[in-house]
Symmetry: C2
Subunit: 359 residues, 2 copies
């Protein structure tokens, strides 16, 4: 049997003591009890917020004052046992903490979790299935309230088996499995917004350099491009859609073919592609935005704001994806009727687009 | 009082049950006991690895087999109470999870922690002191083995007061406080290596564009540049050192002044600066590396490998910083005699440097 006294204020274990000799000794439950002039059992009841325990308001305040004055730290592990669930939310990430891209998912999830009194337990698995299974097992053993399962780029995913033992929400990915709640970026709306930046500046012959790699973003961003053109009464022309590998080298390589299309503006699948296209267009002696207007997608830090000229683009809502995932996990936000739940991608206008001069 | 039976296999709390109705019911300690034909107390002793308990080897195996077959998950919170310390290492990060830069610190720390049976409890504080204090308090309440306190760029730091209540190591930052162990990048060696890339290609008139912002990197990278020149018998010339804001706009703005110096090569304080300098040099009609060789620092993903031409640079050892921090915290690696402990910055050669043609 474990007594609450042992559980709710044990001194640091021997293993944790170190060469940092100046560290103060942790305050014990007994010291709090002595300072407040009550029994250790009473302190324990106050710390664990036992509703059934009848403790005089005056006594409770005396205990809380002593806790504050002495700097006593209750043992959260023991409180978890008492309350039956922990204040952890697990975040399984394939690589969002380590790629220079989707880290804001963590930021958004953490802010929202903290707001509701939860802490994030993060595991970065680099997409390794074995690590992923271990990470989820660890989270289950720590009795997490639920798990966010997230990927650094938007894609379909196979659920790892142990995930089903917990409440979970998929973030930036989705599964065909019934009941699997998910939040993803609204790629169609994003593609529409990117195209609309160019349309509202008078461009009508707009090329689109799409990715060669199959992905929800590839289909969604093309669909949005078509919808935006249609809304302006412009017939979709398949000949204005190129494909390239979605990085700088792909964008650079697409420059010559693009120039043959006679477009006055181009919308690139992502910012990295736009960065390479800038170099390719410059080598052909063209100036952005005077000779051709360019729009990207992602609003990738380090790149978009720092190209010459700074790039107009559409932002991936990573922070919102993390925050919405937590709200959905905690039952504070209902999933949209048409799954997965889609998050709005905002427009970011800079200087790579100029109004088309009248012909 | 908390019984071990409640503590070591409680069913999910009501709060965790959801609309995901297909979730299997967690296996209880009682089911394991029934399957193994032993008492729940015996299962509990096996799960908690009580050394003092005398349990027949055959019985222990029967229990472990039942645990595996049924998929029983022990309660890590309860095990922590029994063992007196948790298997968590805390990682307090100002912004390393959310800037597109130092995320590999998390990767390295996690890999090393997992290797030794620890999980990371990560809090991203955005440098907010109040959040930081809350995060450390939470970690102390979860009885972490120790805390890594890390920053996204190398700098001196003030220790938050509650950090001293735990064993800790500073990662990518340092403090003058006695006994505060720290791991940081070896900026001087990095600056030497960057300059040596240019020297070994025959360059002798090498400019350095340093940062305007005071930082250990500013002093260290300059010191390394001086040492590398001196080792080749080249007198340091203050007139070859420019200063600019350490981003693309700073590098771009330094191009014209650089050209007045008659240097055949330039070493930039960071890759972002080199990216801007590329644009500035191109506008002046110069070609890299034919007219001038360029070296950066940081090996920043998204940029360095994808410039035209790809940039030779020196890598910040973020992964190693995280891993070394964990090893030091666990007492597996001694701090270097001259604190803080410095981590080697490797050279990454690409195509922005060419051998200097004989004059």
């Amino acid at each position: 049997m474990i007594s609450q006294e042992n559980g709710s204020g044990t001194p640091m274990s021997a293993a944790a003591s170190t060469n940092q000799g100046q560290r103060p000794q942790p305050v014990t439950l007994r010291q709090v009890a002595e300072a407040a002039g009550v029994s250790t059992a009473t302190v324990s009841l106050v710390v664990n917020k036992k509703k059934s325990a009848r403790i005089a308001e005056e006594t409770r305040h005396r205990v809380l004052d002593a806790i504050r004055e002495l700097g006593y730290r209750p043992n959260a592990m023991a409180q978890t046992l008492v309350s039956g669930s922990s204040r952890f939310i697990g975040l399984v990430a394939d690589a969002i903490a380590t790629t220079p891209f989707a880290g804001q998912i963590i930021h958004g999830a953490q802010d929202e979790a903290w707001k509701h009194g939860f802490a994030l337990l993060i595991a970065n698995t680099e997409g390794n299935r074995e690590l992923e299974t271990d990470a989820i097992a660890m989270m289950l053993e720590y009795k997490v309230r639920g798990i966010l399962y997230s990927t650094w780029f938007h894609r379909a995913t196979e659920l790892p088996a142990p995930l089903r033992e917990s409440d979970f929400v998929l973030v930036n990915c989705f599964s065909a499995e019934p009941g699997a709640r998910a939040v993803v970026p609204d790629e169609i709306q994003g593609g529409r917004s990117a195209t609309e930046i160019l349309l509202k500046h008078g461009h009508r012959r707009i090329a689109f350099i799409n990715a060669t790699i199959p992905a929800p973003a590839k289909d969604g961003r093309l669909q949005g491009y078509k919808e935006a053109l249609e809304a302006e009464g412009i017939t979709f022309d398949d000949g204005l859609v190129l494909e390239a590998y979605p990085d700088q080298e792909g964008g650079y390589g697409a420059a010559q073919e693009l120039l043959k299309l006679g477009a006055t503006a181009v919308y690139c699948y992502n910012d990295r592609m736009a960065m390479g296209l800038y170099d390719g267009l410059r080598e052909q002696g063209l100036s952005i935005p005077d000779d051709i207007a360019v729009v990207g997608f992602d609003n990738q830090e380090v790149i978009a704001a720092h190209l010459r000229p700074p790039l107009s683009t559409v932002s991936l809502p990573h922070y919102e994806l993390g925050a919405a995932g937590v709200r959905m996990l905690l039952g504070l936000e209902e999933p949209q009727a048409t799954a997965p739940t889609k998050i709005y991608c905002p427009t970011v206008e800079r200087n790579s687009v100029r109004a088309l001069a009248p012909a």
